[in-house]
Subunit: 345 residues, 4 copies
Amino acid sequence: MIRFECDYTEGAHERILKRLLETNDEQTSGYGTDPHCELARAYIKKACDAEPADVHFLVGGTQTNTTVIASILRPHQGVIAAISGHIAVHETGAIEATGHKVLTLTSDDGKIRAEQVKELVEVHWSDATHEHMVQPGMVYISQPTENGTIYSKSELEALSRVCRESGLPLFIDGARLGYALAAEDNDLSLADIARLCDVFYIGGTKIGAMMGEAVVIVNEALKKDFRYHIKQKGGLLAKGRMLGIQFETLFEDGLYFEISKHAVDMAVLLRDVLTEQGIPFQYHSTTNQQFPILPDRLLEELKENYSFSFWEKADETHSAVRFCTSWATKRENVEKLIEDIKRLR
Amino acid sequence: MIRFECDYTEGAHERILKRLLETNDEQTSGYGTDPHCELARAYIKKACDAEPADVHFLVGGTQTNTTVIASILRPHQGVIAAISGHIAVHETGAIEATGHKVLTLTSDDGKIRAEQVKELVEVHWSDATHEHMVQPGMVYISQPTENGTIYSKSELEALSRVCRESGLPLFIDGARLGYALAAEDNDLSLADIARLCDVFYIGGTKIGAMMGEAVVIVNEALKKDFRYHIKQKGGLLAKGRMLGIQFETLFEDGLYFEISKHAVDMAVLLRDVLTEQGIPFQYHSTTNQQFPILPDRLLEELKENYSFSFWEKADETHSAVRFCTSWATKRENVEKLIEDIKRLR
Amino acid sequence: MIRFECDYTEGAHERILKRLLETNDEQTSGYGTDPHCELARAYIKKACDAEPADVHFLVGGTQTNTTVIASILRPHQGVIAAISGHIAVHETGAIEATGHKVLTLTSDDGKIRAEQVKELVEVHWSDATHEHMVQPGMVYISQPTENGTIYSKSELEALSRVCRESGLPLFIDGARLGYALAAEDNDLSLADIARLCDVFYIGGTKIGAMMGEAVVIVNEALKKDFRYHIKQKGGLLAKGRMLGIQFETLFEDGLYFEISKHAVDMAVLLRDVLTEQGIPFQYHSTTNQQFPILPDRLLEELKENYSFSFWEKADETHSAVRFCTSWATKRENVEKLIEDIKRLR
Amino acid sequence: MIRFECDYTEGAHERILKRLLETNDEQTSGYGTDPHCELARAYIKKACDAEPADVHFLVGGTQTNTTVIASILRPHQGVIAAISGHIAVHETGAIEATGHKVLTLTSDDGKIRAEQVKELVEVHWSDATHEHMVQPGMVYISQPTENGTIYSKSELEALSRVCRESGLPLFIDGARLGYALAAEDNDLSLADIARLCDVFYIGGTKIGAMMGEAVVIVNEALKKDFRYHIKQKGGLLAKGRMLGIQFETLFEDGLYFEISKHAVDMAVLLRDVLTEQGIPFQYHSTTNQQFPILPDRLLEELKENYSFSFWEKADETHSAVRFCTSWATKRENVEKLIEDIKRLR
């Protein structure tokens, strides 16, 4: 079985494991106060050109989204997100469990537009009975989105502008951020992202680490007491250095960007060959997730040797499915997949 | 600096790191559905003589306590715990954040007694206006406690009996469970624990693992939908096998018990020598945490080379402090500490 | 200014005020344990032909919805509702504030269909990763809906069947229940409603009372500890008899039904005359809320003497608005409104 | 049966009922936006000499406490209160249900001292791991307390000073505020109270109204969006004028103070005569609640004709009980009670 069902089917990058071994006997203080976390923070702030930012390491994506969002909103506020956003669909109501509604906007491709946010805000405040409705309190987007698409610089600037005009902090879920940065059509640097939003995170779990997400808080007003929130939400890892060592390794010399690029290269290889074969795609993705629409019959046969995710029915006899590549994807496996799809058509 | 401030100052047991390296290239499914988690579950159920139990792997202690407790209680119920219990003091209100009060019982040594639970329950139900008060919904204890003490079999049997008579699930926080099992005066087996409570967890973070806690749900009624709760509370690790591999290693041939014993041996060595020196202890601990009462002057000097935790003032010139040993504690460091305390008295 | 903006612009039915005066000096116990509450419960159970039901009196609608829903769901569950449902739109996220997502279904007329519920449930359970999503835990509908429409007996039977097959309690928000019972096309009795759902409430605030909603719990499994939930959610009125006396008056001899009918008669009068005038309506309502589509120009003029609610733009020059009648609406005011609309067209 | 078990055994003051009748046919807008609420707000602000304050009307005490506290705290913060405080004991965990711990301080008489607050705050911030503990976020007291005692001006000034130095909003639960203001030893005016705290409420339910509490928000920073919080917590009464009319009546010419004084006079009459008889009291109360310690034998006999509340066992053969007077207490009933106690001793 060759796995393309998600981007966390392997362990961790070998350099990370090696570093864990080398540092294993060191004695350090806990909860992220150790030298490795310090170093990792410095590397990340440099990569983001955001020296005054606060950087915190959490374990996983749902935990990170919940902790950040719950730390920002007041009880009567909700978070604006795409209807397909991870927090709106795939976190078992973690946001609602902290008391907040997810205010969803329609989206065909996983992205939301500045004008949509603007309209939602205007509709809220123009309603005479607005206090009977959840007040928009912040905006959540993912880069790349759950559909593999990315925001361009101009799109993010527009969103950022509307958010600032409306007093809404902008939070970017970067669980797969490296894969967006490596996209052929990306024109956003880490520094742009740090500049345009209020808080974001750099995903490790899906890009080379065993686990771990690095939250970067740019907006001064959101920094206060954040470690309390992490602890309360169960994200303050006792052996915090495990996260520090991983991000130290990923960011000391650009490993994060290098392995992200590999994943995207593999995905684009798959996409381009299938496109040449006349196979349509559900979304135009330039990142590590690809959503070809294939005959159900072919998919049945593919399942014997490959794992992938069912996305949605396209018509009576075809379905959109998702193939994920990752930092660990072997070129030979992608080539084998391509050959098998060609053969089975 | 030699660290005794807590039991997670080092990385992971070398066999765990070795196993992570060996299995790193395997492709597996996520979220704890992989073969390593399966194997670890089988080992743990065998060790607990609890075949029908459900075993789940979570990342850390606060997360585990919150997830278990929130999955059991209805909105108007609270959890009974010692006033010194971890959930009552050191989790930034994580239980309250899920909507539930911690109903505290006084305790001198970290333990609560069956009669205390019985009385609290009777007082609640005998009050004519009981619906104006939080209803007791379950009982939380830790084995060993935050003070290093352990419940004997007869104490746990008595608690278990009262809980069952009162319809209150009994939950045991076993963040340091191995250290209790290795105590000289312990008469409880893992199987006894599984038999006497409804749900408990076996701590990995403090005993050999990088991170990870294994929840064992014994009571059939508490098993339903538990994975939803883990996901919602941010504890469903994407690369779940990281936890599975660690517990597989710890439980395949008794490593967990072996390294627990080492930690306790080191703590007892420290305790016995200091006791011979006439140094009093705040609690009678037979596990890996020791709480000697030492002159403040001496503590000031010790701080230069050792880390440990301040516990509480004993009198004007003395304080109780905590020294933790662990699976990774080096005998030579304990001996050095002993010599320095002797020398500095 | 003649008010049609909602159904609570006046005080209470004069018989209620009279009864409050008569009983004012009585001394009774608090929190709904007094003889008036007991009598009101008996009347209501009789009216519903539901002797074994539990009846509780709460103060307002949002409070009642929140209390009932939070008492039923487990933390990982959500409540299914129409996208236009009161809990989904107009309660400032009260349901989410108790930790639960509202799982919305599309609706053109405020009603949801049995097949929609069935499909949502099937989609949830057929998804391999269902534990990453909020589990459907109950169904909420309103009778009549926020759009003035009502469920027929066959529609409610179908919903009830799907709910029972799926293990989902069915909760009916009856804030305006009397107005549904009085509708010309209604074929559901109070007894039918009690038989087909698990819990519902009979609204007093909008139908003759100063305030108050009578919750009727039919499903035995939902009765346990409900008074704790009421108290926790702030709904256990100290002088509970104030609610008991009002419902006693409304249900001792059919006053509730009589005044409901008056409101509906007034609404139908308005609707029928405007329809004759060729004025279209946004929804086909047979209850006390009517939603004519009128020229914006005319609405501007009407505003000088009448209050009503803007609903939504119909086209560039027309808007749908809402006129509510109530138990207190004076026929002469409706006739004046009709004349003015006729005149201003 | 003559009732002294609580201060809400009767209906409402006759002038309130009369006013409700007189205004019953008026048509007004809902949710507290009507002229009666406006007038009541003006009267209350004048009585408090707090023109810039915001005044909101809620229905009951638990709801008010929950709404105010949840509107102020951030998720990781708790509210400091006496261990006997209403929010700590008698609200079924309503505060915890909104996610917040009640940080309790010991108290013999229901009051907390400025030094206790100061110490709790200092202990929190001096702990190196303070982020593992709930952060103190505000202070809650009641005036008078649940034990009938009152804060003096110097005590309240000291508390206020510590709160302001520590950045903790001070919230006063005034469910029985009138009875404190009428106490013989009271030296605090409504204006003092408004000046010394950040938010407080004036209780109507226990002092003449059918129901209703008037929240006065003095601190500018706490005013924002408060109506959203009221709505979300189920406290925004549709027919808000019902509350406005009651407070208008109570505050237009001092009725609130006059009837409060009557209740206190009746309580003091009872206290003084029993004291003369050599009967001890559990607390020294100068307000409407009195806690004599009486022989259990006598209490058994009293129960046949009087209702009162059991408080706690004093010794093997005596118990402290609570007698409440109110605005509606008849002097002849107090005299009868006194005679019966004298006779039965």
